[in-house]
Point group: C2
Chain length 220, copies 2
């Protein structure tokens, strides 16, 4: 084949790749600080029988809120004060911390999807009316994107799929393993923890570009 | 051109790109915890006239060492104890912290290359024989790779160039802006801070793959 034709083809392929890069959909990013979800029983044990959480602020996900109430969490090596409770109450208690926090507590918490607390790390939780010790429930949250079925259809992804998200700025990174979570109850937002935010110089309201992987399903 | 031929050419190009992906050179990663480099004058002010640092352990970079001596660093909102001094003494005092640390200190330290402290953040440093306040010197270190001229030639990169480094594992990331630093005095190692290590689940001794950018020179 003549060299000029080869060059045209290469230019065409490169142009195509660049266009793909530009067409990546943008996803808003939310940074999750350490927080606790409590079961009804544990809320009662910590704050008194019949206690109800009071709302401090709505969260981005519909129906979810940051409560005025906070707890102290304790591990074998240290404790962290004023850990925000997120409402409403859930079926099972779950405390989400960063790796930085887990080092301070002195416990090796596993990287997990929200809700997957079986065999995760133990933690002691202290409230104004009592304390509890749970043998599992402390996790590092896996980066994920909440979206509606409409968003998923538009992006061509599905629940449980893993995608890349590329960020911008001086500390730009590509998060290689980001889990897609689809529900009618969700609003489009990628959730990362404070370690990930600091490492990438990100704050809530920044954006990343979703890049679909061609050969992956489930966490790698 | 016939569509079948176009398809063969595109397949060939994609195959080529995939092979490139596999041939990326591996770079060992070192995680830098917060630390201080002190000038001779500041060492004297903090530890006494004529004081010499004592070696606790050699670092990966030839001639560099972790000293037994530590200092307290103080910001407007908080302090951090037992910050390791790295030796030998330098021309100018420089304290490198993570963003997590800077939040604790209550100061916005800029993301900088080592040595570029002009206009960086102030910090108070306290030693056993005295304390100093520097109006600049506190930085967040930019991710970088130390290498020899021989490494640089082998990887096809040069001093000051920016590359990507892709890591592996459950929290795999691609660091998009990694600075190449070349010197005969260096040993091949990528340096990241504790926030970056936590966000990517990395520890000293892990490896990343260096990916050369085609169109970039200097920090983006």
């Amino acid at each position: 084949m003549d060299p000029q034709m080869i060059k045209s083809i290469v230019d065409e392929v490169v142009l195509h790749l660049n266009q793909e890069e530009k067409s990546k959909p943008s996803v808003p990013i939310g940074v999750s600080a350490r927080h606790a979800h409590l079961s009804k029983e544990h809320l009662a044990a910590l704050f008194g029988n019949g206690y109800e959480l009071t709302k401090k602020a709505d969260l981005s996900q519909p129906g979810q809120f940051a409560a005025n109430e906070t707890v102290l969490i304790v591990g074998p090596r240290g404790s962290i004060e004023r850990v925000r409770i997120l409402g409403p109450v859930r079926g099972a208690t779950q405390v989400e911390v960063s790796i930085t926090d887990s080092v301070k507590l002195g416990v090796q918490a596993p990287l997990r999807e929200s809700g997957d607390t079986q065999g995760s790390a133990p933690v002691t939780i202290v409230g104004p009316k009592g304390s509890i010790h749970v043998s599992e429930g402390l996790i590092i949250a896996h980066a994920h994107i909440h979206m509606t079925p409409e968003d998923a259809a538009q992006f061509g992804v599905e629940n449980g799929e893993v995608v890349q998200v590329k960020t911008k700025g001086k500390r730009a990174v590509t998060f290689e393993n980001v889990l897609i979570r689809v529900s009618e109850r969700y609003k489009l937002e990628m959730h990362i923890d404070t370690d990930e935010a600091n490492a990438a110089l990100l704050k809530t309201g920044d954006n990343g570009n979703l890049i679909k992987l061609t050969d992956t399903k489930g966490l790698r």
